[in-house]
C-alpha cells in the first residue's frame, strides 16, 4: 500500500463522517437482521412471481418420481429452490383455497367457504400489502371467487381474469376481462394465452419491483391439453392405484362429484394438461433468464388443492385424505436459499404464502394472518415447523360430502364429519400413509383418540373455528 495514495485508511475522517458511517452500518445491520430478504442482489426489493395451478397434485411432477410424467421446468424450480414435500391446503376446494393463498387465512376467517360464497372485499390480500410496499402488481388468470361482477381487489395495477363457466374459464378461446374490459378470446389455448400476457407485463419497463400472480385454469377438470400434446400419453401404463377402476368417475360412491368419462381417459388427459403447464412455466423461467432477473425474483409455484384419481375408490377432491389435501409448494429465491434442491419436511400450508412473502420483502405480517412465514425454513433446514393444523371443508351444494373438521399432525390425522353423518376416522400417517386402516375402535385408536380430539379442539379454538359446523 503506498503511503502517498489517498485511501480510506489514511484519509482524515471528520466526526460527522464517522458518526454517519457508524450509523449507516448499524442501521444496515439491523435491517439485515430483521428483514434479511428486503433487498435483492440489485439493491432493491425482489420481484415476486406466484404461479398457482388448479388441481395439480403434489406428486404429478417428474421430480416426484412420477412413473411417466416429465416436467423439466417445474422440476427446475424445485431443484433451484426449496420443495416443501409436506405442503397442504386448509380446504381442498378451488375458491376457499385461492382466498387462503391471497389472505393468509383459513376459510372460516376470510369467508370464502365454498365455490358459492362470495369474496369479501374487505379481505386484505398480500397483493394489496405489496402494493403499499411500492410494488407494481398484476393478477393474471383464474380468480374464481363469486361476487357481484368483477371483484375490486385493492392494490392491483393490472387485472386479467375470466368469468366463463362460473369463473372456471374454458381451455380454448376463453374471453377475458382485461382491467374490467370484456375482450373476446384470441383462439388460443388458455395457459399459453395467460402466459403470453404475463410475459408481456413482466417485460414492461418499470422502476419498481413487481408482483405477478399468475393463476392458471389448468389442470382443472375438462382436462384439455393443447393440440400438440393431445394423445402424448396414449397407450401408456398410467399406474393407476390398485383399487381404481375406469368407472370411478361415474360411481364415485355417489353420483354428484363424478365425470361421465373413464378414469384412465381423464387421468391421461390430466397428465397431458400438466405437461402444458410445465411448458408455459418454462417460458416464464426463460423470460426471467433473458431479462437477467432470475436471481432477483422470488418464484413460487403451488397448486390450490389435490385430486383423487381412483385412490379410496374416489374421484375429485374435498375429502381430507392425502391425495386431496396435499399440494405442490416450491419456492425459488437464490438470494435467500443457499442449499437449492432441498426437500423441506416441515409442514407448509397455503395460508403460509402471504406471511412468507411479506417477511421476504421486509414488511410486517398483519395480526389477522393465520399462516406462518416459511422464511426460517427457507433459510435453514433445521428450522422448526408446525406440529399440527386444521383442515376444514364446508358442504358444497349439491355434493353429498358433509362438512369436515380434521386435525393433521406430523404423525396422525383425525377426521370428524358434520352431524356425524360419517363415522370419524383416525389414521397413523407414518405406518399407514395411504390411510387404509381407520384406527377408531382399535386399541391403538383408543389410546390416540383423546390426544387428537384435544388437539382438534385446541386448534379450532386458536383459529376461531368454534361453532362453525
Amino acid at each position: 500500500m503506498s503511503a502517498d495514495k489517498p485511501s480510506i485508511f489514511n484519509e482524515p475522517v471528520t466526526r460527522r463522517q464517522a458518526v454517519k458511517t457508524i450509523g449507516t452500518t448499524v442501521a444496515a445491520g439491523l435491517v439485515g437482521l430483521n428483514f434479511p430478504g428486503i433487498v435483492s442482489a440489485r439493491g432493491r426489493m425482489p420481484n415476486v412471481i406466484f404461479i398457482l395451478t388448479d388441481d395439480h397434485r403434489w406428486d404429478a411432477f417428474g421430480c416426484m418420481d412420477h412413473p411417466f410424467l416429465k416436467t423439466p421446468n417445474l422440476d427446475r424450480i424445485a431443484g433451484e429452490g426449496v420443495m416443501f414435500e409436506n405442503s397442504f391446503c386448509t380446504t381442498s376446494l378451488c375458491s376457499p383455497s385461492r382466498a387462503s393463498f391471497l389472505t393468509g387465512q383459513y376459510a372460516h376467517t376470510h369467508g370464502v367457504k365454498t365455490n358459492h360464497t362470495p369474496w369479501n372485499e374487505k379481505n386484505v390480500t398480500f397483493i394489496e400489502l405489496l402494493k403499499q410496499a411500492g410494488y407494481d402488481t398484476a393478477f393474471i388468470g383464474k380468480w374464481h371467487m363469486p361476487g357481484e361482477g368483477l371483484p375490486r381487489v385493492r392494490g392491483l395495477d393490472h387485472f386479467i381474469t375470466f368469468t366463463a363457466q362460473g369463473g372456471q374459464g374454458v381451455y380454448y378461446d376463453c374471453p377475458l376481462y382485461i382491467d374490467g374490459v370484456h375482450t373476446e378470446g384470441r383462439g388460443k389455448y388458455i395457459t399459453e394465452d395467460l402466459t403470453d400476457r404475463a410475459l408481456q407485463w413482466i417485460g414492461r419497463p418499470r422502476k419498481n419491483p413487481f408482483c405477478l400472480y399468475l393463476s392458471h385454469k389448468a389442470a382443472h377438470f375438462g382436462f384439455a391439453p393443447p393440440k400438440h400434446l393431445d394423445g402424448m400419453y396414449k397407450g401408456i401404463d398410467l399406474h393407476l392405484p390398485p383399487e381404481a377402476d375406469d368407472f370411478i368417475p361415474i360411481t364415485n360412491r355417489h353420483l354428484f362429484v363424478g365425470a361421465p368419462a373413464p378414469l384412465s381417459f381423464l387421468y391421461r388427459r390430466y397428465c397431458e394438461t400438466v405437461v402444458s403447464v410445465d411448458e408455459q412455466v418454462g417460458r416464464v423461467l426463460q423470460k426471467l433468464d433473458e431479462m437477467g432477473m432470475a436471481e432477483d425474483t422470488i418464484l413460487i409455484y403451488a397448486g390450490d388443492n389435490g385430486h383423487f384419481f381412483g385412490e379410496h375408490g374416489l374421484y375429485d377432491k374435498r375429502l381430507a385424505y392425502e391425495e386431496s389435501i396435499r399440494i405442490p409448494f416450491f419456492v425459488r429465491y437464490p438470494g435467500l436459499i443457499f442449499d437449492p434442491g432441498r426437500r423441506a419436511q416441515q409442514m407448509a400450508l397455503n395460508i403460509d404464502l402471504a406471511p412468507t412473502l411479506l417477511e421476504l420483502i421486509g414488511r410486517k405480517i398483519p395480526p389477522g394472518m393465520q399462516g406462518r412465514s416459511l422464511v426460517p425454513i427457507l433459510r435453514s433446514k433445521g428450522a422448526p415447523g408446525r406440529k399440527s393444523w386444521l383442515y376444514e371443508h364446508y358442504p358444497v351444494y349439491p355434493i353429498p360430502i358433509p362438512g369436515i373438521a380434521a386435525v393433521r399432525t406430523d404423525t396422525h390425522k383425525y377426521i370428524t364429519y358434520q352431524n356425524n353423518i360419517r363415522p370419524p376416522e383416525l389414521f397413523d400417517m407414518v405406518s399407514d400413509p395411504k390411510e387404509k386402516h381407520n384406527l377408531i375402535g382399535t386399541p391403538r385408536g383408543k389410546e390416540l383418540l383423546p390426544r387428537l380430539k384435544s388437539e382438534l379442539e385446541k386448534i379450532k379454538a386458536t383459529t376461531g373455528y368454534i361453532g362453525e359446523l
Binding site: E243, D245, T251, Y397, P400
Partner: protein
C-alpha cells in the same frame, strides 16, 4: 294378452330389476377390496354391466315382461319406474343432514337425481314400441296400435327432459339449476 297374476305381472319384474340393482351396487363396492388385478377387473365389469341393466335399462326389461304378462299401462308405469325411483331416493336421501330442508327438496330438480327416472321413461317408451310391434305381428290384430297417448307421452317426456338436462353437455341445465339455487338459498 292374457292377464296373469299380480305376482307374475307386477311383483316379479319389479323384484328382478330391484334385486339386480342391489346386487350390482354391493358387488361393485366389494370389488374394491379385491387385490388381484384380473379378478378385480372381472368383478368390477360384471357389477357395472348389472348396474347399467338394472338402473338405467331396467324399465326396458321390466316393461317388456309386464307387457306380455298382461299388465295395464299404469301397472307397467309402476313396474318401469319402481327401481329408478328407489335409486333416486337412495341418492336423494344420502344428502339428508348436510343441507337445509329447502335445499334438500330443491335437489329433486338436479339432473343427476332425475336422470335415472328420465332415462327409464325413454326406455319404457321404446319398450312399449317394440312390445306393440311384436304383439301386433304375433296376434295379427290391427286393434293393437303402435302409438298410443300413454307410451308416446312417456317417450316424449323422457326425450324432452333428457335434451334439456344434457343440452350443451349439461352446462345449460346445470347453470340454470345452480343460478336458481343461488337466488333462492344464498
Amino acid at each position: 294378452m292374457e292377464r296373469q297374476s299380480i305376482g307374475r305381472r307386477i311383483v316379479f319384474p319389479i323384484a328382478m330389476i330391484l334385486a339386480g340393482m342391489i346386487i350390482a351396487l354391493n358387488l361393485y363396492d366389494f370389488a374394491r377390496t379385491i387385490e388381484g388385478g384380473g379378478l378385480h377387473s372381472f368383478v368390477v365389469n360384471l357389477s357395472v354391466i348389472l348396474m347399467v341393466l338394472s338402473i338405467w335399462m331396467g324399465a326396458m326389461i321390466a316393461n317388456t315382461i309386464a307387457y306380455f304378462r298382461g299388465a295395464s299401462f299404469p301397472e307397467r308405469l309402476l313396474v318401469s319406474m319402481f327401481t329408478p325411483v328407489v335409486f333416486l331416493l337412495k341418492q336423494w336421501l344420502g344428502i339428508w343432514g348436510i343441507f337445509s330442508v329447502g335445499e334438500f327438496f330443491f335437489l329433486l330438480l338436479h339432473h343427476v337425481i332425475l336422470s335415472a327416472v328420465v332415462i327409464n321413461l325413454i326406455g319404457m317408451g321404446l319398450s312399449e314400441l317394440w312390445c306393440r310391434i311384436i304383439h301386433r305381428v304375433k296376434s295379427r290384430d290391427p286393434a293393437v296400435k303402435l302409438f298410443q297417448v300413454g307410451n308416446m307421452a312417456v317417450l316424449f317426456l323422457g326425450c324432452g327432459m333428457l335434451t334439456l338436462m344434457f343440452w350443451h353437455f349439461g352446462h345449460f341445465y346445470y347453470y340454470l339449476f345452480m343460478d336458481t339455487y343461488i337466488k333462492l338459498f344464498l
